[in-house]
């Protein structure tokens, strides 16, 4: 009986799990090839590739945070505001003349604290949906950022503070030219994504995050403290937004009121394109990275080809709808109803 069932699985059916896991990477590779064909001289040049990574560096932190929240079937609309508030606090502390290691730690702590507020609000105040709590804090955090800074940009940080966002790792010892450097932010993305991949896939807490997204009552019945896990998830999301603030401080050398405006929507879009399900429990860290890259490459490529940014909006929107439709089709095949 069992063997018979196995034989009935066609090659097509066997390929589904692989497609599910790596389909998004396939899309990424196709995009890279298309861009390369369209812009053979520029697109894959050292300068442009490092540029793409620098551009996506802070978005990738927000997307990773939002991804964890989405896995629990929640949402965090406040990440852009958390980043802005953390950035403003960083700028104020830097202007006050604090030593660089304090200035670097402050946004991480501020971001963590903002996330903690979200987590506590969602669980202790028993908000009907995280959408509402984080919609509230979207306004609260940005408003606070403007209040403490007077709504004006604060510029000029030391090199140490700017290192993560602006630093370069010299590769001339490999025989490469001086212009062929490795951005520190690229290394940071790799390290942070790896650490969170290990956390989500190989730790109990990570497994429980997926379990909560799959069936919160199952998690509760298993003795998992669901509220505690949710508070951890939202706090980590805030912490990652704080890292985003630190990177952005390095890139722009300035704290400014519009920092991260609407970037929460970009972060959510990257997760959805990367295969995370809004119903929770589904999605991979690799997928989110691919989602961030696809959005970054699309913007970069269209800029190179001098396509209007209005078209970029239309294209990104279309990709979101298409990506989710593919997911709907996949589910029809993959799951017993």
């Amino acid at each position: 009986m069992e063997d018979k069932e196995k034989k009935q699985d066609s090659l097509y059916v066997k390929l589904i799990p692989y497609f599910e896991k790596y389909g998004i990477l396939l899309l990424l590779v196709i995009m890279i090839l298309v861009m390369h064909i369209l812009q053979p001289d520029v697109f894959l040049s050292w300068r442009n590739v490092t540029n793409v990574f620098k551009q996506i560096s802070w978005q990738s932190m927000l997307a990773l945070g939002v991804f964890m929240v989405i896995v629990t079937a929640g949402i965090d609309l406040s990440v852009g505001s958390i980043m802005m508030l953390s950035l403003m606090i960083l700028a104020i502390v830097a202007k006050a003349g604090a030593p660089w290691f304090i200035v670097v730690l402050v946004p991480l702590f501020a971001g963590f604290l903002c996330g903690l507020i979200n987590g506590l609000g969602i669980t202790l105040l028993r908000m009907p949906h995280p959408f509402i709590m984080t919609l509230g804090t979207l306004y609260i955090f940005r408003g606070t950022g403007n209040l403490i800074s007077g709504g004006t940009p604060i510029s000029g940080f030391t090199d140490e503070v700017r290192y993560l966002g602006h630093g370069r790792i010299d590769l001339t010892w490999l025989g490469l030219e001086k212009s062929q450097y490795l951005p520190v932010s690229l290394v940071l993305i790799a390290v942070v994504y790896f650490v969170f991949w290990v956390f989500l896939n190989h730790s109990r807490t990570g497994k429980w995050i997926y379990a909560i997204g799959g069936n919160p009552s199952a998690a509760r019945a298993s003795g998992i403290n669901v509220n505690k896990i949710l508070i951890i998830v939202y706090s980590l999301c805030g912490f990652l937004s704080g890292i985003g603030a630190l990177i952005l401080a390095g890139r722009t050398d300035s704290g400014y009121p519009n920092a991260g405006l609407q970037s929460e929507l970009d972060a959510i879009a990257a997760c959805i394109i990367g295969g995370a399900s809004f119903f929770g429990g589904r999605g991979t860290v690799l997928g989110v990275f691919a989602g961030v890259m696809i959005m970054g490459i699309l913007r970069n490529g269209l800029n190179l080809m001098d396509v209007s940014s209005f078209w970029q909006q239309v294209l990104i929107g279309s990709i979101i709808v298409l990506a989710v439709y593919v997911d709907v089709l996949r589910r029809d095949f993959g799951t017993r109803k």
Partner: protein
């Protein structure tokens, strides 16, 4: 006779109020080793509330729980699990997005330490899952299969496997066959008999007389939150038990 076996779980005078509503009043219950107790009652009779009290999900307003002769206060499902008291919920309480093995060990995953960090031990999860499913004669393609890919009967089997993975002494099942196709009901009932033969005490809440009269040794009826009637199974009949459910003696 099962009553000569060791008494595992006893609830005495359990009362539970929700605001002004009295869900349970002075309810008593006993389960022995290797015995299956059927709990019947109409909707709203208090069956589910009683089970939630026994599993530590609800705190009783009055009354006491004794496990193997000692009184225990349960603050959470974790406490009852630690005693060896497991619950199989009607909605199955499985996470469909996770594989069978990870569902069985959810919340109690084996880990291995690397330095001061703890990592999930996937190899051990898989080995323990295969061995446990083998023991209960539950057939699935592989322990890595996601639960959402399983049939209703297989899911129920996984839920029962989950409840017994940590040497449970008492397993409480809420409507274990309610959501199943007819051909799968027999398999689940076989599984309950298998548990009994290993000395596990089983409490089955069910509307289905077939279930009660196939696996249970004793049956008790709740009516409007109170003990209404109780009997050894061989001293009663289906018609009598159905009468109890409707409040007739």
């Amino acid at each position: 006779m099962t009553s000569t076996n060791k008494l595992l779980l006893e609830a005495k005078g359990i009362t539970k109020y929700f605001g002004t509503i009295t869900a349970l009043e002075n309810v008593n219950l006993k389960v022995h080793e290797g015995e299956c107790l059927g709990v019947v009652g109409d909707n709203g009779a208090g069956k589910s509330t009683l089970m939630k009290v026994l599993s530590g999900l609800y705190k009783p307003s009055a009354g006491a729980l004794f496990f193997e002769g000692k009184e225990h206060v349960l603050d959470s499902p974790k406490d009852s699990q630690n005693l060896g008291l497991e619950m199989v919920y009607q909605d199955l309480a499985l996470a469909g997005n996770l594989p069978i093995g990870e569902n069985i060990f959810l919340g109690r995953e084996p880990t291995k330490n690397i330095g001061f960090l703890k990592f999930l031990d996937f190899k051990k999860i898989k080995e323990m899952t295969s061995a446990h499913l083998e023991k209960l004669k539950i057939n699935v393609k592989s322990a890595d299969q996601k639960v959402e890919e399983l049939s209703g009967g297989q899911r129920q089997a996984v839920a029962i496997a989950r409840s017994t993975a940590f040497n449970a002494k008492v397993v409480i099942m809420d409507e274990p066959t309610a959501a199943l196709a007819i051909k799968e009901v027999g398999k689940v009932l076989d599984l309950i008999n298998k548990l009994k033969s290993t000395g596990v005490g089983v409490i089955v809440i069910s509307h289905r007389m077939d279930d009660i009269f196939t696996v249970c040794d004793r049956v008790m009826a709740l009516f409007q939150g109170t003990n209404f009637a109780e009997s050894q199974l061989d001293k009663t009949s289906r018609d009598e038990v159905i009468g109890w459910i409707m409040g007739k003696k």
